[in-house]
Symmetry: C2
C-alpha cells in the first residue's frame, strides 16, 4: 500500500477518536473540551511535520507551511467542529486533507522541482472556528469575522444556552490569539452531505454555486394557561402557532419547488417555554430556513412564508415576532477555479461533475473576498449531521489526491498571480479582517 | 376586621413568599428546595396550632388534628407543589384553607359544643405529593399511590429529567416517612382555573363531576440529517411529524365539540432531539391529552386522534410510537356531598352553582375510594398555571367559611357515619395504601 495513503487514513481514524460518540460519530461542538482536544491533536500533528500554528482573535486556527520565504499565502481549509452526535467527516475531512495535501505539495517541490513547478505562494491550512453554529449562533462564525461580515467583538460576546461567551469558551480551551493573515486565494474540500454525486456515480464534485438561503428566528408569543381547565376559545397557544409554522414551511417547499429549481425548508431548533405537561406554552423560539437555487423562486417562497405567518397568528391567537435573520444569495464560484479543478481531475483520471451546494460552507464566505475553489467528495446515501455519516476510504483518498493536484497548480500560479493577486487580496482583506 | 379572616390572608401572603418568582407567582415544583421550604413552613405553622405532622412513604404530608381520641378521620386537602412559574393559589389555597377550617371547627366545638354538634371524627389535612406532575410524571402522584392506582415503589424510582429519583429528592428535603392512615371521607377546595364561575357570578362551585381525560406520551421517530443538504424526499423529519400532531389535536377539539359536550385537546410538553439549528430532528417526545364531559364524545375524538397519527406517519415519513398513557373516565362526585355543600352555602348566604372540573385533582383519585366533596372558588379571567393567576381575597375567605361549615357538618356525621363508614373506609383503603 502507498504509505502516504495509509498515513492519511491512520490520521483520520486517530482524529475521529477525539469526541467520539458510542454511535460511531463525534460530538465536538465549538470550543467545547472535545473541540479543544481535537484542535490540540491537530496542532501536534502538523507541528510534527514542520507547520507553525497560530490563532486569531476569534479562534480561527492557522497552520502555516512556508515554501517560499516572504511569498503571499494560499489558504486551504474547513472546520474541525461538529454537530452534537455529528458525523466524523463533516469539516474534519477537509482540514486533514488540506494538511496532507500541503505536505505532499512540499514533498513534490523538494523531490522534483521541475514536475511541481516553481512555487510562488506559501500554504496555510485554516480550521475555521464554529462553522456548525449549534452551540453559538450563527453558523460559519469564524469565516464570517475573517471576511468582515460580523464584527469580532460581537462574536466574542455571543453566549451559548448556558450563558458562556465565545471569548470565555475559547480562553478555557486556550485557542485564542491575535494572529492576522491575508490570503490570495482559498481552496476547500468537503463531503457533499447530499446524494447527487452518488446518484451520478461521481468521485469528485466541482461546486459551481451556492444555493440562496434565508434563515429566520421566529418567536411565537402566547399566554401561559392550564391545559385542562382553559377552554379552547381562551387559549393563546404558542406551541400550536409554532407547530403550524413548521407544517407551513414544509408545504411551502412542496408547493414552490419546480422541475428546474428546488425549494428546501427546514426547522432545526424549536424551544418551548415553560414546557410542562399541563401548561399551555407561553412562548416558542424556532429557527426556520428557506433555500433555493433560484433567487426569484426563493423570493416567492419567502413571501409565502410571511403571508402564512399572519394567518397562523389569527388561527392560534398568538403574536409571531421575527427575530434575528441571516441570509445569503445564490452565488457562483470562480469560473477559472472550476476549470483548474476540472483539468486537475482529468489529469488524475477521476470522474467529476459540476454540483451545487445546498449547505453553507466557509467557502461561501471566502468566495466573496478572494478567488475560491470548492470541491466535494461523495456522502454515502447523502446521510449527514448524523453519526452514520460516511465517505468511503477510496473517495477520501481520491479527494486528497485531487486537492494535492489543485494546490500544486494554485501554488505555482495557475489560479491567481503572486504579484497582482497579493495586492488585491491584501487590500480587500485588510478591511475585512475585523478586530 | 375579623381577626380570623385577617389571619388567613396573612398566612397566605407569608406562604406565597416560599419559592416566589419575580412575576408574582411561585415556582415550587415537587420535592425541590422551594417545595421543601414551603412544606416545612406549613409544618411549623400547624404544629404551632396543635397539629401533629407525619409523612408517608411517598412524601404525602399529614397534619393531624385530634378532636375525639380514637375516632376515625376525615381528610381535607390539596397540594402545595406548583408548576414552574405557576400561580400562588393552585393547590396551596386548598391546603391552607383546610388547616384554617379545621382549626375553626375545633374552636367551634370547644366554644359552643351545642352549635357545632358532637364531633364523631378527627380531621387530617393532607398535602398530597406532586399533584402537578411537571418535574416527575405522572401528575396526582401522591394521591394515586394512596388510592392504590400506582405502586409506591414505582413512584420512588421515577426520575426527573436530571436523573434524580423521587426517593432521592424526597430524602434530600427530609419529607419522607412510613406513616399510614385510613380516612372515612375526603373534602377538597380548589380554585376553578377556568372562567365559568366568574361568567355566572358565583362565589362557590359545587363540583358535580370530572371530565374524562386520555393522556398520551407520543414518541415521533425520524432520522437525523442536515437541514441544508438533505432534499425533502430523503427526510424523515420528527419535528414535522410532531408539529402535525399538535395541529391535528387542535382540529380534533374544534371538530368533535358539540353544543352539549366540549372536547379539549392540549399539548404541554414537547422535546426535540438533537434540537440543533441545522439538523433535521431525529426524535420528538410530546404529551397530548384529550378531554371531554361525555364518554362517547371522548371515545370518538380519541379514535380520530389515532387515525390521524397513522396519516401523519405517512406524510412526514416518520414512525409514531405511543408510549405511556394515563386516563380517567368522566365520573360523578357523591350526590349526598353535593347536597350537603349546597345546604352549607345556603346557610352562609353564598351564591353557588354546580360545575364540572376540566382539570384533574387529587379528589379525582380520592372519590374512587371514599365519599368525596369537591368545592371551587373563582379564578379571575380563568387564568391559571400562570404567575398572573388570581383569586380575590373575598372569594378566598368565602371559601374558607364554606369549607369550615362543610367540615363541621361532616365531622358531626352528616356525610358519612363514624361507625359504618369507618369499617368501609378501612377495608377499601387498606388495600389501596401501597408499600
Amino acid at each position: 500500500m502507498n504509505p502516504l495513503k495509509n498515513s492519511f487514513l491512520n490520521d483520520f481514524k486517530s482524529m475521529s477518536e477525539n469526541g467520539a460518540t458510542p454511535g460511531g460519530g463525534v460530538d465536538r461542538q465549538a470550543a467545547t473540551v472535545a473541540d479543544g482536544q481535537n484542535r490540540n491533536w491537530f496542532r501536534g500533528l502538523v507541528e510534527g511535520h514542520g507547520f507553525t500554528v497560530r490563532y486569531d482573535a476569534v479562534g480561527n486556527q492557522y497552520s502555516l507551511l512556508e515554501l517560499v520565504p516572504g511569498a503571499p499565502w494560499i489558504a486551504v481549509g474547513s472546520h474541525l467542529d461538529s454537530q452534537p452526535l455529528g458525523g466524523r467527516f463533516d469539516g474534519a475531512y477537509g482540514v486533514l486533507a488540506g494538511a496532507h495535501a500541503a505536505l505532499r505539495v512540499k514533498e513534490r517541490i523538494e523531490q522534483a522541482a521541475k514536475t511541481a513547478g516553481i512555487p510562488q505562494f506559501n500554504i496555510v491550512v485554516i480550521n475555521w472556528f464554529n462553522e456548525e453554529g449549534c452551540r453559538f449562533k450563527p453558523s460559519m462564525m469564524g469565516s464570517s469575522v475573517y471576511t468582515g461580515k460580523i464584527p469580532a467583538d460581537q462574536v466574542l460576546e455571543t453566549m451559548d444556552p448556558a450563558g458562556i461567551t465565545v471569548r470565555e469558551a475559547l480562553e478555557s480551551i486556550g485557542t485564542i490569539g491575535d494572529f492576522e493573515l491575508s490570503v490570495a486565494a482559498y481552496v476547500e474540500i468537503h463531503i457533499e452531505q447530499g446524494r447527487s454525486m452518488e446518484d451520478r456515480g461521481l468521485n469528485i464534485g466541482l461546486v459551481e454555486s451556492t444555493w440562496g438561503a434565508n434563515k429566520y428566528e421566529f418567536v411565537v408569543h402566547g399566554d401561559q394557561a392550564h391545559t385542562g381547565a382553559t377552554v379552547i376559545a381562551d387559549r393563546q397557544d404558542a406551541l400550536l402557532g409554532a407547530s403550524a409554522l413548521v407544517v407551513a414551511a414544509r408545504e411551502i417547499a412542496l408547493e414552490h419547488s419546480t422541475d428546474e429549481h428546488m425549494v428546501i425548508t427546514s426547522c432545526g431548533e424549536f424551544n418551548v417555554f415553560p414546557n410542562s405537561p399541563v401548561v399551555v406554552a407561553s412562548r416558542v423560539n424556532l429557527l426556520v430556513d428557506v433555500r433555493s437555487t433560484d433567487p426569484d423562486v426563493l423570493a416567492k417562497a419567502d413571501a409565502d412564508l410571511h403571508a402564512r405567518v399572519a394567518k397562523i397568528e389569527k388561527m392560534a391567537n398568538v403574536r409571531i415576532e421575527r427575530g434575528a435573520e441571516h441570509a445569503w444569495g445564490a452565488k457562483a464560484y470562480d469560473q477559472a477555479g472550476l476549470e483548474l479543478a476540472a483539468r486537475s481531475a482529468e489529469a488524475l483520471g477521476l470522474s467529476y461533475g459540476v454540483v451545487r451546494t445546498l449547505a453553507g460552507h466557509d467557502s461561501t464566505n471566502m468566495k466573496d473576498i478572494v478567488p475560491t475553489i470548492m470541491l466535494f467528495v461523495p456522502s454515502v446515501e447523502g446521510i449527514s449531521h448524523n453519526e452514520r455519516e460516511l465517505t468511503n476510504d477510496e473517495d477520501m483518498l481520491a479527494g486528497v489526491d485531487l486537492l494535492t493536484e489543485v494546490l500544486t497548480r494554485v501554488v505555482r500560479g495557475e489560479f491567481v498571480s503572486a504579484q497582482g493577486q497579493e495586492a488585491i487580496a491584501l487590500s480587500s482583506s485588510a478591511s475585512a479582517v475585523a478586530g
